[in-house]
Subunit: 390 residues, 2 copies
């Protein structure tokens, strides 16, 4: 029941082991949910308790370790044989005397991995400071090294099967934004629009079942358009209010984010119109520039050049890599389109370009979710690029 | 625009400072999103980047520190004055050379807090090991102590205003389970049922706008009923399949979880019926036992006693404290109903009792979300307790 073939997971493990070898890591301890899924297929909402996937250079298959009640979930969703699934008793959960890392350290000892160089994801959520402390205490002969985004970087080039999932997510994204545009009207409640958006996300298309996004609908109206990460309330939309939307289509945890701006009236403020024109043209110029061989910072520089005639200022990064993810973020934490990013763009990377602008009195959002082709890019969806006047 | 009055936040800060004093903590560093919200009102989906709330014994108001683009979100959603909101530049985000903790340490130095005893949440997601390492490196004169669930324990007794939110969540919970029962039918897709559930969660009632739950709908059908934390796919429900549902009504991030079991047919397997009878009776006996003065482990012992005549075995904890929360968990990480928990139950605690049973061939879930009263308990919702036959 894993989402991909066993061969695909084995290739991922092989590339992960190559990256471990390069960095002198014998054993990899992975707790980031997308990385756990990528390596094994594991797909459960159990990341609120400690769990991990272990990849050892001296063992073919990775191992899943987690809470007892979730072990059957691992049996159902991963490609792993049963002896690679290990479960801890429930009294380890949020205990003040025991810690799940003690159990995991015991398995590491049993496997003879306790004198190895162990890579852990030091700056990933779901790997707490306490995890590190307990592991270090329980495995005094091990050497711990940072493997923070090791698997994230293995994920950056998407397989054909992954790209099919992302194109499916793109099809869902169109339905999601359609639901938003149809349901955001003067007098309707923000929460009812959010409900329509979520229903479109979860339902998906007839062919592709939707999934939950790594970020809930971000939908800022009125005063809230000066910031990008608020959600909704019971407030009713009012006339001449702008609404910024950052949403996503999702298929089996693969994302195609989609951001657009609605204005509930016929005459958006001039600053908003001017900003929209600059941003839309700048995004188009940037997309025309993207192709294999350019770097992350060169893409951003092209954007900066394209808007240099205007007063638009965008301090935040222009975009980032996307693909598989779980809450709290659909960004992959690899390439970031900003000064200093020397990552060379390659075919089958997937990027989300989101030149959002949040001034104190007006905001504007639009985006593009793309795959890099041999010569340029492919959009994950086609959707009008404009201010939606309603 | 914060959800509660300034006075309520001030009382929370006062109780937090009292707990800090007791534990010899001068400065509290909080990154758990529910704790950040509890102390300041902050409500944005920005916890995928590093951010925190600082509470110092020598300053009246707490401070919010986060990413530049989210500072306006803090201005909109918190009760804090502007000089208590500090923002870091975007090039700190997921950088390989800078870290947001450097910025936060600079503010701590500026405020003269760098020689203090600093409490950090060592086992909370969103406080990574790297956070600790960078803070320690940047603040060599500080002493770091564990304040892992300090604010969680301050949250355990709910105010009248919070209880109103939880009762509102209970009203939403009824609509959510109604949507599930109505939309789970032989031949319909799991994802379409999930869509109806999410729409009910987000939309809420006419009076109370819904919100996103800290856990997405958990809905296991067929083989998946042997584990509790899976979500949905595009599979169509088939005849004589059981469906386990763990959902929640939510109002302004306060939760009223609701779990029930559907059987798509007229004749559930005998083991399922027997299990349901035992669990439903056991839950009732346990609820009748709960009142101020009993301990967490006594509640669980009563459950164990009530089902001791049967073959039902429940290894996992019976329940836990609920209230305000954000993904990935609606559990509060304070009281856990299980052996060893000596927490004394008090009025205005709120508990989720979920005696879920996941055998290899059958599962059954039912629950109760309650508030402790002076003499017993109050249910956050009334909903039939039975196997729903469809």
């Amino acid at each position: 029941m894993a989402a991909f073939t066993k061969e695909e997971y084995e290739q991922r493990i092989e590339r992960t082991k190559a990256a471990m070898n390069e960095r002198g890591i014998d054993l990899l301890f992975i707790s980031q949910p997308a990385n756990m899924n990528y390596l094994t297929g594991y797909d459960g909402w159990s990341f609120y308790v400690h769990q991990c996937v272990l990849v050892s250079l001296d063992q073919k298959e990775p191992m899943w370790l987690g809470r007892g009640m979730d072990a059957n979930g691992a049996r159902i969703t991963t490609y792993l044989p049963d002896d690679c699934i290990r479960q801890y008793a429930d009294d380890y959960v949020q205990s003040t005397v025991k810690h799940p890392m003690h159990f995991i350290a015991d398995v590491i000892k049993e496997k003879g991995w306790d004198k190895k160089r162990i890579g852990v994801e030091m700056d990933q959520f779901y790997f707490t400071h306490r995890n590190y402390v307990e592991l270090e205490k329980s495995l005094p002969d091990a050497t711990f090294v940072d493997a923070n985004t090791l698997v994230n970087w293995v994920r950056i080039i998407k397989s054909e099967a992954e790209l099919e999932f992302m194109r499916a997510a793109g099809k869902v994204a169109i339905k999601v934004m359609d639901a938003a545009v149809a349901n955001i009207n003067v007098g309707s409640r923000e929460c009812d629009a959010a409900a329509a958006i979520a229903a479109a996300q979860y339902s998906g298309t007839e062919e592709y079942a939707g999934d939950y996004p790594a970020i809930v609908p971000l939908m800022m109206a009125g005063e809230a358009t000066k910031t990008p990460h608020l959600t909704w309330s019971g407030k009713r939309y009012t006339a001449d209010e702008a609404v910024l939307l950052e949403l996503s289509g999702v298929y089996k945890h693969y994302h195609a984010p989609i951001a657009r701006t609605i204005f509930l009236g016929k005459n958006p403020p001039k600053l908003m119109q001017d900003t929209a024109r600059t941003v839309i043209d700048g995004l188009k110029a940037t997309l025309d520039f993207i192709k294999p061989g350019v770097t992350g910072e060169e893409v951003e520089a092209e954007w900066r050049r394209a808007i240099s005639h205007s007063t638009v200022v965008k301090e935040a990064r222009l975009g980032y890599s996307i693909g598989l993810n779980y809450p709290p973020d659909w960004g992959e934490q690899t390439i970031s389109l900003r000064p200093g990013d020397k990552t060379v763009v390659k075919p089958n990377m997937a990027l989300h370009l989101i030149p959002g602008i949040w001034y104190d009195d007006v905001g504007f959002e639009v985006d593009a979710s793309i795959r890099i082709t041999e010569t340029g890019y492919e959009s994950l969806y086609e959707y009008p690029v404009e201010i939606f006047l309603k």
